[in-house]
Symmetry: C2
Subunit: 313 residues, 2 copies
């Protein structure tokens, strides 16, 4: 019998814990590096309510830092938020071995290059998560819906390691959408995320329905989406005709929804402004695409963060 696939999750919050549980169910040996909740995870592991069944599991090893990891994993899954002051490269380096495939589960644009540059000889798989899961208490997750991952090699392709990961994820019970153009997939998701996330924050934590039904709101979101599409096209990833209208239509059909950045804002947590918005604006500047609306939103949200920091200090 082949030895099980070794998986190490770094950033063992809701997303990391959930996909760890899926891979555990698929037979992998799953360990975690957790910044918080280390004691609880060591004693009791994860308790996970899910429509997929009981996903609760106990990680093989629980570390407070990657420096505690003695055997480099086959897959090192990075499920950290990309916010200011988090040095992903420094955090993961002690656990990366010569045969380790690095897997990034993270929203946004332009989040891979820094890791690709730091570990040029390791395969790098880039993933977008479509999942509604939250941490309700230390070690306790509530998985509400979805679970699919869209992923592929960075910057393109879908090699052996990505395919093996796809098999594991499907064996664990979630949809795995392999793509040989994951950067294009990121742009496709940015069409929704980049307008709705910061828009919601600047509107004081507004939900999707408030954003779309207030006079002028839908027009704003659409114009921001069109700017994202123009940047995507200039970056070599033209998006399909009608993607803006389709996004609006499907969002209008959803119940009122607070996106992740809105929830971070309402709960006083750091927000993923750079991957979701800042990197889009910088890509536009580099490629000479005018994005006056996105640039305005980006400047305003940085002002909001700066003012919050000033008021707290």
């Amino acid at each position: 019998m082949a030895s099980p696939t070794n998986v190490l999750i770094i950033g063992a919050g809701a997303i990391g814990g959930f996909y760890g549980a899926i891979l555990n169910r698929a037979g992998a040996r799953v360990s975690v590096v957790a910044r918080s909740d280390v004691e609880v995870l060591r004693e009791r592991g994860y308790t996970i309510k899910s429509p997929l069944g009981d996903l609760s599991f106990r990680p093989a090893e629980v570390h407070a830092s990657a420096e505690g990891v003695t055997t480099p994993p086959d897959y090192l899954i990075v499920a950290l938020k990309v916010v200011e002051g988090v040095d992903r490269v420094g955090i993961i380096r002690p656990a990366v071995g010569p045969n380790t495939t690095i897997v990034l589960i993270q929203n946004g644009i332009g989040i891979e290059q820094e890791v690709a540059d730091a570990f040029p000889d390791n395969p790098l798989v880039s993933c977008l998560a479509f999942v509604a899961v939250s941490r309700v208490a230390p070690g306790e997750l509530d998985h509400k819906a979805y679970g699919a991952l869209t992923f592929g090699d960075y910057p393109r392709g879908a090699g052996e390691q990505a395919q093996r990961l796809s098999e594991l994820l499907q064996a664990g019970g979630v949809e795995a959408r392999l793509s040989d153009n994951v950067v294009g997939e990121r742009w496709r998701k940015a069409v929704w995320n980049t307008p709705f996330n910061p828009g919601s924050v600047l509107a004081g934590g507004a939900d999707t329905q408030t954003l779309l039904t207030t006079p002028g709101g839908q027009e704003l979101i659409e114009s921001l989406m069109h700017e994202v599409c123009a940047v995507a096209a200039a970056d070599g990833h033209p998006l399909p005709e009608g993607i803006v209208e389709g996004n609006i239509r499907s969002t209008l059909k959803m119940p009122a929804y607070h996106n992740s950045m809105a929830l971070d804002f309402l709960n006083g947590r750091p927000m993923e402004i750079e991957p979701i918005l800042g990197n889009v604006v910088r890509t536009a500047e580099r490629l000479g695409v005018p994005v006056p609306r996105l640039a305005t939103v980006y400047a305003l949200i940085r002002l909001l963060v700066a003012n919050q920091a000033k008021r707290r200090s």
Copy 2:
């Protein structure tokens, strides 16, 4: 001896009370219509601390509504905030006589036409106030600095009634800057107000220094100012070369400052969004001037207000 000039102030808060006091000191007979503080104003009048000396005065008459006014005034001064749901025309109509000059003291763009249309036979004087005065308690005002009014007839000129008002104001101790192009003066002031006021609100009530010194902030404010200048020029009021740079330079020299809209926002009061911003965006649309940044800010601030209303309900 000529009988004194009859003045009626409608909207007897900080601005109305202050200019009422100035005109009272100039020898006018000053009455007020106050929405709140009626009893206090009847019993004790205004107590006003000011670098100009003690401006405290007791109005000749204090009414809770213009319907109580029996003799139409020579000057009816409207010092109401222009916010949603305030029907200025309906509020002032009972007190407007055939010889009444209507005086609007109000920031923003496009605030006169509605009143001009409703009272086409009355002279209409349009004023911009440069004054730092606030209401600290019922009937108690704190005048900190400045006091100048810039004004003229709407839409242009500076006729007899405006000149007489100028003499009274100067006799009362404030600077009166008569202009035969008051709409141009409004545009000149909008270059500062239109970017800084809503920008501050969307940044969570940030002061001027935070807006200008956070990375990307000054660039945002400047780009919004340039859009205001383009609309002003298209509206027939080209502004001088270098007005943007001059505004930035002088603001950087001022101590950190919370503008009126920021204070309204931080105190949960209605904000003058339409005169300060909405009317600028609508003028741009009417004249075909692209203002993507101003339109973005306008959409976002309406979303913020809609979300606040939803959270309160």
